[in-house]
């Protein structure tokens, strides 16, 4: 569709309402929605705010709405500290950086970086790696299902869908045994393979829907012009499927990024991602809430960015491609 047609289409589609709603109805609807949105965002705001509280403010009772912000939570997230006696600290050379002095104020000394950066990197590698693989394999398989007659196609497609019905804990039982034999426990490769396998079912379903929509005539024309099937795929089909691929990628990424059950059961050190790491960030004696809140905030940022960028495609992904353009 050209831009002009798309615009007019969008314009017409936005006029879907029972009646073109009166300003009063709109205001009423708007108020309710805004109310819900505000209520729904409050927990998140509390968490973002907690990241800027001091330890005692975070667990103060009654809970503090007004507080003095500090970067302790973030510093605690990124460092490992040990408590020393005030005499020991007095004997140390003066603090070199702002975070050093922040930590010293609590009679603690920075002993090294915490594990949060390696965990975040793991999340990036495993998340993006499995997304890329799932989308890659999914595109190929979807293309094949769409354009060729594969024997047992219906059954295969249904089997692909049914793999999503098992609770992850159930799937983890034999995978745990299998990985134990293959020395894949706690490896990034193992996690990437697992997440790819889980994502590829969604990817095939979504992408088949997208590719089904691309008219065959373009490829046929290209083939007649002398292109091979592969070239036709690359030059004709893929460019038109890019938005579909982006939508699929976003869903695969959200799954791999946020996944917890497999990660907590099959990783412990090397390949551990953020979700099993965040709830167990411990401060002195208890959960370090400001650090946990800081980690939560940082962890959700990439997903929110991607979602906002690609929000128009969310609809299709959510309905498994049932919503057509």
């Amino acid at each position: 569709m050209t831009a002009a047609v798309a615009k007019s289409v969008l314009a017409r589609s936005t006029a879907h309402s029972i009646v073109e709603a009166s300003p009063r109805t709109k205001a009423f609807a708007g108020t309710l929605v805004i109310l819900y949105a505000v209520i729904t965002i409050l927990p998140l705001l509390w968490i973002v705010a907690t990241a800027f509280k001091s330890q005692s403010d975070a667990i103060a009772y009654p809970p503090k709405v007004i507080f003095e912000p500090t970067l302790e939570g973030y510093v605690n997230l990124f460092t490992v500290r040990t408590r020393q006696t005030p005499d020991f600290i007095a004997k140390l050379p003066p603090p070199e950086t702002w975070y050093d002095s922040l930590v010293r104020k609590h009679d603690m000394v920075i002993a090294g970086p915490s594990k949060v950066v390696p965990r975040f990197v793991n999340s990036l590698i495993i998340g993006f790696g499995s997304t890329f693989l799932a989308v890659f394999l999914g595109t190929l398989a979807a293309y094949a299902f769409s354009r060729f007659r594969i024997p047992l196609a219906d059954d295969l497609l249904f089997f692909i869908l049914s793999t999503r019905m098992m609770p992850p804990v159930a799937v983890a039982i034999p995978i745990y045994l299998m990985y134990r034999q293959l020395n894949l426990t706690d490896t990034r490769l193992g996690m990437i393979l697992l997440y790819t396998a889980v994502n590829v079912s969604l990817a095939v379903w979504l992408l088949k829907g997208f590719i089904d929509e691309i008219p065959r005539e373009y490829e046929e024309a290209a083939l007649v012009d002398g292109y091979t099937r592969l070239q036709a795929l690359r030059k004709v089909v893929l460019p038109q499927a890019v938005t579909g691929i982006a939508a699929t990628a976003i869903f695969c990424l959200i799954f791999s990024w946020n996944e917890y059950a497999f990660a907590v059961l099959l990783t412990s050190g090397e390949a551990q991602t953020m979700p099993p790491f965040i709830p167990f960030i411990i401060g002195e004696g208890g959960q370090d809430w400001p650090a946990v809140a800081a980690a939560t905030t940082l962890f959700v940022v990439p997903i929110v960015m991607f979602t906002v960028l690609l929000r128009k495609h969310l609809l299709r992904g959510i309905t498994f491609g049932a919503v057509r353009k």
């Binding site: 205001a27 354009r147 098992m166 799937v171």
Partner: protein, 344 residues
């Protein structure tokens, strides 16, 4: 072979109006009409073969890796698990001789009253949470469809909880719901005057099941909302215009047009959310650990404890298979019922 032939094709303002009842688009049934006919003229087939790999090779090359991966990661382990379910394997006591116990694990599970209570708890959770999400999600979609000013901004805000990791959500809600130091109880006490430390959302037997429903709805009502929005936007204008001409009231329009035409989407949302919530583990485990006692212990939590804390691999394999058969069977029945409803 299950077919979901009931979802109408959704058009965003396409040239020809959609006829929802006529043109069925399948979800689970691929569109056979678009598959190339084998009896094409030999010339073009030959032409294809001449230029690069043949179609058949490409087809297999493209599909094989996916099928292979799924076989390796899904099917082979499933078969292994079926075999394990007939044994007494306990991983933490692997020095004990492995015994084949036939159907003992299965009968153990099916005669254990606790397991049935867990299934009941899970079913209650699924039904309450999905019902609430449908009501809230559909309501929101109706309101947002009014297209008031700034609605897409607020929609994005509402979508945010969906983007979080359920495990992280379960974890930070424990802080929010703590009676002494969490804001939730204080907020409620502001509105109702009940002292904040007199009730505990995650600690009281009467409240805990509703707490997990509440947090789950907070996360997933936006999901249902999006689906319903898709449904609402698919209803073509001319139907409403026709109703206007007939001077149907707004309420009547809602009941006879909006609701019936959104129902397929709602049913889709219900299916997906129900499957997901049946599998639910991370959010509830981190929010309540299945407590107090076992009042919010969902069946996945039981499975995890049996498999990875008690290490009763044989027993938990049997339980996993029972769960899978349950979900699979339920989904199948649901979809078949849906098809029948739609054919009416």
């Amino acid at each position: 072979m299950t077919q979901l032939n009931w979802l109408p094709e959704v058009c965003l303002g396409e040239a020809q109006p959609a006829q929802p009842m006529d043109k069925m688009t399948t979800i689970l049934q691929p569109d056979h009409a678009t598959i190339p006919d084998v009896s094409e003229p030999a010339k073009s087939r030959a032409a294809r073969r001449v230029h690069g790999l043949s179609d058949r090779t490409i087809a297999w090359l493209f599909v094989a890796p996916t099928i292979a991966l799924l076989l390796a990661i899904n099917i082979f382990p499933l078969i292994w698990m079926i075999r394990l379910s007939f044994t007494s394997l306990n991983l933490s006591m692997s020095y004990l001789p492995l015994r084949f116990v036939g159907l003992d694990n299965f009968s153990d599970i099916l005669t254990d009253e606790d397991v049935w209570i867990r299934l009941q708890t899970t079913a209650e959770f699924v039904i309450s949470s999905v019902a609430l999400q449908v009501v809230v999600g559909f309501g929101l979609a109706l309101l947002i469809n009014r297209q008031f000013r700034g609605h897409s901004f607020w929609t994005t805000i509402i979508l945010l909880p969906m983007m979080l990791s359920p495990a992280v959500v379960g974890n930070f809600w424990t802080l929010l719901l703590q009676p002494q130091i969490g804001p939730f109880n204080y907020l409620i006490s502001l509105f109702t005057g009940v002292p904040p430390s007199s009730f505990s959302m995650t600690g009281q037997v009467s409240l805990a099941p509703w707490t997990i429903v509440m947090v789950d709805t907070w996360m997933w009502a936006p999901y249902v909302m999006l689906i319903c929005l898709a449904g609402l936007r698919s209803i073509p204008e001319y139907i409403y215009e026709a109703a206007e001409v007939d001077r149907a009231s707004a309420w009547r329009q809602f009941w006879s047009i909006t609701l019936p035409m959104t129902v397929p989407f709602l049913m889709l949302a219900v299916l997906f959310r129900a499957i997901e919530n049946f599998k639910m583990f991370d959010m509830v485990n981190l929010l309540t650990s299945g407590g107090p006692g076992s009042t919010t212990e969902l069946v996945s939590i039981t499975l995890k404890r049996a498999a990875f804390e008690k290490w009763r691999t044989g027993y938990s394999s049997a339980l996993a298979i029972i769960l899978f058969v349950t979900v699979f069977g339920a989904a199948n029945i649901y979809v078949k019922t849906l098809n029948k409803v739609k054919q009416r």
